[in-house]
Symmetry: C2
Subunit: 251 residues, 2 copies
């Protein structure tokens, strides 16, 4: 490897996903690239890991400045394996995606795309999760390419605060209206279980935005044609409640 930036890529749609290929091509503009991605779809893997399985990894493609590995584990396993077993040096940036499907609002908790970026953040490597609000496995990613590169270049140059990563979402539009830096909006999934047999269910459902008028949220940005950048953090402590309202006594 050269003195160029080293960028690690993972995702949760698997090594064959179109969004991963696009992200790989874009990151090759910025540095040397190692891809470690699941060998098939791991949608909604969250930060799950595989303590009960042997995790296998295989080099499937190699060019100057690029190596692509497929891994039997989850997105988080992929990042752990890359950082702790595979890479000869610490990467300058970890990017995940581009996910087929948004990871705004509460979906951030279920997302394997965000899970991979979280893992990098836990290991103090700057990390970005990219997702496109689409239901399609074949998309036109060209409207977002410049912004994907711009945000990655920003993080390579400026870094991120300790324990903070970026969750980036794009709306599916021919042309972005712009980019907004947002908080995570409040929402919930509804009617999620469809009975398909005796004692048999299939996940389904729809997303309900609980604050559709809030212009400072990721979901508002997506609904109005903007890309959203949401900084998220490892610490989930409810500090306000901890400091002011929590009356259960310390015995």
């Amino acid at each position: 490897m050269s003195n160029r930036s080293l960028i690690l890529i993972s995702n949760d749609d698997g090594v064959a996903a179109q969004g991963l290929g696009v992200l790989t091509d874009l990151m090759c503009q910025l540095g040397d690239v190692i891809v470690v991605a699941p060998d098939g779809p791991r949608s909604a893997a969250s930060c799950s890991i595989s303590p009960l399985s042997t995790i296998t990894i295989k080099l499937v493609r190699e060019h100057p400045g690029l190596k692509v590995y497929q891994c039997s584990g989850t997105p988080t396993d992929c990042v752990k394996l890359a950082l702790d077993g595979l890479l000869e040096r610490r990467p300058d940036l970890v990017v995940s995606g581009i996910n087929h499907g948004d990871n705004a609002s509460v979906s951030v908790h279920y997302s394997g795309t965000v899970g991979a970026a979280f893992e990098a953040c836990m290991k103090a490597v700057p990390a970005i999760a990219y997702s496109l609000k689409t239901r399609s496995l074949q998309c036109d990613f060209r409207p977002y390419e410049a912004e994907v590169v711009r945000i990655a270049r920003y993080v390579l140059e400026h870094g991120l605060p300790e324990d903070v990563l970026l969750n980036v979402n794009f709306p599916e539009v021919p042309e972005l209206k712009g980019t907004r830096v947002c908080r995570t909006g409040r929402g919930r999934w509804m009617k999620e279980m469809m009975q398909v047999g005796e004692g048999e269910y299939q996940l389904t459902g729809y997303f309900q935005n609980l604050e559709p008028e809030a212009e400072d949220t990721d979901y508002w940005a997506l609904d109005h044609g903007y890309a959203s950048i949401t900084p998220i953090q490892l610490d989930m402590t409810a500090h306000d409640y901890l400091n002011s309202q929590f009356t259960i006594h310390n015995s």
Copy 2:
């Protein structure tokens, strides 16, 4: 079902785990109980869900005031299925655990025990995750029983703020020194991948506490013989960074 409280229980160690049995017995003191738990171990399942699988559920035990179901899905699937397909009314409380292994510090992100409680919180049901810092599958839970019941009763009586749940951890001690209300401590897992063959790895590693002297953290409490109660929240937005330091421009 009567007018008594309705309590839903899940876990990530599976329906046969000792900790689940203990928690079930304790909650039966407080109300009618429905258990929906995975049919086997789902450790480190985080908030993962199973959109690509048919999820099956089976009633495996029934007494007055108690029904126990096993489910083929993740802890989060179990809670979704209970809230959206199985229960005739909204539960007053969801509890998860008692996990064999702590879920303090960053482990909160990987935890299926916490994932189940998170799902309830997303659906606006008060929720508590209970975990014991142990490496054993057979433990003496008696030192913690009174505190498990006390915290659950507190939440049944007082509720919790919107989008906040409780993450409770116990140290493995003959007698608790007390209970501390804490923030999540900073830490990280180290040396996590052990190579076991050509391209084959097994998850392993050890936890490094990054602030061992910080007396307001969950890990400090556990290390000093106290139970920890950490309120955690759905919103992971890095508000401090969003409000003050984030210079990437809105275009």
